[in-house]
Symmetry: C2
Subunit: 327 residues, 2 copies
């Protein structure tokens, strides 16, 4: 397990993002550069909001939209295909100041699931909407709706077909070789704004060849996404079922709140708790002091962070030798 | 807030059930007796399993099925109607020994949602299935499917229609008078078997006139349902959105695990945390020593428990003067 701890003065603001724990095993050199560039674009978009004095919620949404639109990650365009060959997407956002949250699951036509999650938080009395009901709500709000084929990239469809045909080499089959973890690629963002507010957001297409209707950890408050100004904001990625059973993201917060652990230790212990019953993955987390940790127990993780005091890094694991900490 | 604490020798086994926090405001005397009788029937069915040395999971399922079939509670037959006049049901079960869980949301045709939740736990690699995907899985397993009208009782439809027409007196409108809480009625069961295993299960039709696709706390691991042999089993009921945001059930466990609180204090504090941002409801919880607590902060709560050392009570709030502790 690798962790990153950063101490900071209390005035720091900033954000962290992830593009999933795992690593694509067949990236071309061009793809590798594309991953790095998209992480930077997402990070900059979120940071720009914060730098202008904007709210953490706006920063998280801005950062995640770019990852959803990229076609590179398992979220929005580029989502994994389910057992029926369709993309079904989940997303969630939680505001650590108000402890309000919005979550959507089972979307097939909403171009940017994270934006709909925010609308559930801002415009309804509910926290979570699923499937057709969620999409009806999106249509009523005039959201951009797209055919499911929009989300299905050639690479994901090919990988899905090979898995279905039993032709995917075991080393690349996420079911048989967790180290390959081709299927991971959930995206997320956690941010601390200049007012000291913490927000977490996560968006995903779930796992390849999942049963139709499968809900992962990303849209579950306390599992894949959680924020609480008293403690931290967390966005997880990995084998969702284990993160749900471990109530992962809330566990990080509870370990800080009730045991007095620092962010680094809390995230590490919560990840170990999930690993104890076999779960693999990682998370990004930020606390109200601007400390950041991004641990994972998989082969690698797409991750990046940027803080107002100059700390920062972008890590696209396929180009690990090109890691460029900003200082 | 009212709480019930029971100390017990470590050898005790038993269970607690609830039929929701809130109270029907227009029950006839016959209805009141019917509620009491159903709670007893459910309690006895679960207890019978445990007494024969059966597993807590089997006890929970046996108890909840009876409440789902009763036509009296907001779960299975008798579920509240959503904004489109349909019943959409959620259910969840979690095993505290293996920390495995099964959850379903947005069901419209599965007669016993709790049984499907268990099938998700036992027969899939997933934890949670939603909507059409969940029902396809049920059909593939040969589950009993019923038309949605099966779930819609005359009383619930009338209440829904009055709410829609603006004819429900404010005192009986759950949106305007939280004290009336006609809309509550989620059911659940927590059990400790003779082997020391803890299991929690919850089933619900959600809240009246909810948006289609709304997911409440009941099917969310850590919110409305949680079990962990190290700490406790919890099933919540009430204004689900608040219980999700408070990650209620896992919070009870975390307060025991990390702060060393006893079950009574942990459940009380977690309920207070939810109440702090306006949430009303209650829960049943049991720990590995056989302690039971059933706090609520609403007008009343249908609740009952029975332990092998003779402790027990059945409380149907409309007949509060007939509370009959078994000793």
């Amino acid at each position: 397990m690798e962790t990153t701890l950063s101490d900071s003065p209390k005035t720091a603001y900033g954000l962290a993002i992830h593009g999933g724990a795992g690593a694509p095993s067949h990236s071309t050199a061009e793809e590798k550069l594309a991953y790095h560039a998209k992480l930077k674009e997402s990070l900059d978009a979120g940071y720009d909001v914060l730098q202008k004095g904007g709210a953490a919620t706006d920063a998280v949404i801005a950062a995640v939209i770019i990852l959803e639109d990229a076609g590179l990650f398992d979220a929005g365009k580029g989502s994994d295909l389910n057992a029926e060959g369709a993309c079904e997407m989940d997303a969630c956002v939680m505001d650590g100041r108000t402890m309000s949250a919005g979550s959507v699951t089972g979307l097939q036509h909403v171009k940017n699931p994270i934006v709909l999650a925010r609308a559930v938080m801002d415009k309804t009395q509910h926290v979570m909407l699923m499937g057709e009901g969620a999409e009806k709500f999106a249509r009523a709000l005039g959201f951009e709706m797209v055919p499911n084929s929009y989300f299905q990239t050639e690479r994901r469809r090919k990988q899905w077909q090979q898995l279905r045909d039993g032709k995917l080499p075991p080393s690349e089959n996420p079911r048989e070789a967790p180290g390959s973890e081709e299927g991971f690629g959930t995206v997320g963002c956690v941010a601390l704004d200049a007012k000291g507010n913490l927000v977490a957001g996560t968006s995903t297409g779930g796992i390849v060849n999942k049963m139709p209707g499968r809900v992962g950890d990303s849209p579950i408050i306390g599992a894949g996404t959680y924020a609480n100004n008293r403690t931290c904001a967390v966005s997880g990625t990995g084998q969702g079922e284990f993160f749900i059973r471990g109530v992962f993201a809330h566990n990080v917060s509870a370990l800080m709140d009730y045991k007095g652990l620092a962010l680094l230790e809390a995230a590490g212990q919560a990840l170990n708790d999930v690993a104890r019953f076999g779960g693999r993955g990682g998370c990004i987390a930020i606390d109200r002091h601007g400390n950041v940790t991004m641990p994972f127990n998989t082969a690698a993780m797409f991750r990046a962070f940027r803080m107002s005091d100059g700390r920062g890094a972008i890590e696209a694991p396929a180009i690990a030798n090109e890691i460029k900490p900003s200082r």
